[in-house]
Symmetry: C2
Subunit: 340 residues, 2 copies
């Protein structure tokens, strides 16, 4: 009998997520029923939203229950199918979980997407063509409506979304794109590798003073991935009629702890700012167009693709906490198996 390795949620994390919130388990490979697709997992993508799914209410998705395998965006190969839309051998992407084998309803609310052999690494479907890349794309183009001449700031600028947001803003003609990150190495990377014009090291620099110096006329568009004090500081440095995108709140760690609201939010009133949220499912019908534009920018060298691919099913829970600490730039991906 083939063993299905799993990482189950052992306890609901309080505060920062830890590898000890999960426990290893071995189960039998599930038997597909009518309408089911059995997938052997190949890659797991790491997203900050996974921490939200671990809270009591799960945020915008059902919470993961104790004893259930941890949910993830993933790529895998169909090994058995009772749904005519999926054939054995198909490479698919979508919501999976930390197991060797996942059973997915072909007609469920979160169907798998069959990936064509597109001539680029499969992992790109989790990164630049996944949640991070598409969120950066729609956030910058539609949410912030970045236009030529804009001064743009992106926080968590080495993250899977942030590094692309800066590149996309430059592609749209932004005059100056500034990223924030922690530590000199990451700051160097932003400017030297991700095409940003300048970086602010939030760990060692006075962010307000640096913004005043770099953006004397104020910030036209701010792509917020972190919330907290950073958002409050940016609120004080926005140009009149500036735009803010609320994309994430990494500084909160997405725990159940009460969020810190932006205390300077009345700047929205007095500077007549626009604040826009973004959640990818709202762009359901435009995802393909977004991916096409991103692909064009990658092909012509406007955007680079940055990934950190780690191997080994046993490492699944270790990587999650690094989402919130000092991980390397770009998209974090775990490789768990190869296609047959």
């Amino acid at each position: 009998m083939t063993i299905n390795r799993q990482w189950l949620l052992a306890r609901r994390p309080v505060g920062a997520v830890s590898r000890d919130d999960f426990r290893f388990h071995e189960a039998a490979v599930p038997e597909p029923a009518d309408g089911d697709v059995l997938v052997r997992t190949m890659y797991f993508g790491y997203d900050a939203s996974q921490r939200i799914w671990l809270t009591d209410d799960g945020g915008y998705m059902p919470p993961i229950q104790i004893g259930e395998p941890m949910r993830t965006m993933g790529i895998g190969q169909v090994v058995d199918s009772r749904d005519p839309s999926y054939a054995v051998g198909d490479i698919v992407a979508g919501f999976m979980s930390w197991q060797d084998y996942v059973l997915v309803r072909g007609d469920g609310p979160m169907p798998l997407m069959v990936l064509p052999d597109a001539g680029y690494p499969l992992t790109w479907n989790l990164g630049i063509f996944g949640v991070g890349g598409l969120t950066a794309y729609f956030g910058v183009t539609d949410g912030l409506k970045v236009k030529p001449g804009d001064t743009v700031v992106v926080s968590a600028a080495t993250g899977a979304t942030g590094y692309l947001a800066g590149g996309i803003a430059k592609a749209l003609g932004a005059k100056k794109v500034i990223g924030t990150a922690g530590g000199p190495e990451k700051c160097d990377w932003i400017v030297e590798q991700a095409g940003y014009d300048a970086a602010i090291d939030y760990k060692s620099e006075d962010i307000g003073a640096r913004l005043a110096e770099l953006c004397p006329e104020g910030v036209d568009a701010y792509f917020d991935n972190v919330g907290g004090d950073m958002l409050d500081t940016l609120l004080l440095h926005m140009a009149p009629r500036g735009r803010i995108l609320i994309c994430g709140a990494m500084s909160s760690g997405y725990t159940d702890v009460q969020m810190q609201g932006p205390r300077n939010y009345m700047q929205i009133c007095t500077q007549m700012l626009s604040v826009q949220g973004i959640l990818l499912p709202f762009y359901r019908d435009q995802l393909e167009d977004g991916a096409k534009q991103l692909a064009e920018w990658v092909v012509n060298g406007t955007l680079r693709v940055e990934e950190q691919v780690v191997s080994g099913f046993d490492k699944a829970p270790d990587l999650l906490p690094t989402m919130f600490s000092g991980k390397e730039p770009g998209k974090l991906i775990l490789h768990v198996s190869d296609p047959v």
Copy 2:
């Protein structure tokens, strides 16, 4: 010699503003220099923003200094003019201060507007055609973009801005307009007099429960005049892609005390909300159009005009604290003299 009565700022208020923050003074009537216009004041309008001007940094305007007469929006009559744009006898509106006589630069950054004899009460220039009415107009039409079928909530719905915001939303075809206010009398007034469909008494009712009951599909547009816990509650009841207008933060009293930021602001992200600020000077070039539309709605009975006009120069500082407590519905105005 004619005496110029004044109410000067005696000390910078800490917390809620009090009548004791001002002191009475008698001065000589100032002598106009070249380019000056001398105005005898007739009406003072009361605006929540006056509290902001009393803070150390003044917010979006220069702060009022200790020993200076308190700034106000006002109406008066030109009694001496050294500026060819203003004639003796003209009735004018604009930034004035709590004095019998104010000296204004005709070409200054805040010029006076000469009021035509328009066949309606002069006080309307401080209310429906003043900051409150025009803020309601641009807030509902441009900021919130209220459209037919919308479910709209307005907080501080008996205020000079709030009562009109609800009426304007109805005029634009909103399906349901709900106001919040303190106490059963005000709640009755909102529904019976201001054209709202329903009211929530924030002093005695569970706002969240009432919103869930009245807006089962969520709130499409929220006109926020109060901030604080109300804004946080509304954030939990917005419809996907809902719009919020940040117009005021009455609950804060506009003191120097650190504002309470909206702790549920990540709903902006997960419901993909739009949050828009409003400050009337940004609509400088459209004010006339706004006033025209408002006048049309008043003439055809769509909007009612509600004012509380109190008489007596000596009452000027007494009325300011009532902006933040239990004043009567509509615009609060002090009458200080009649035209000659």
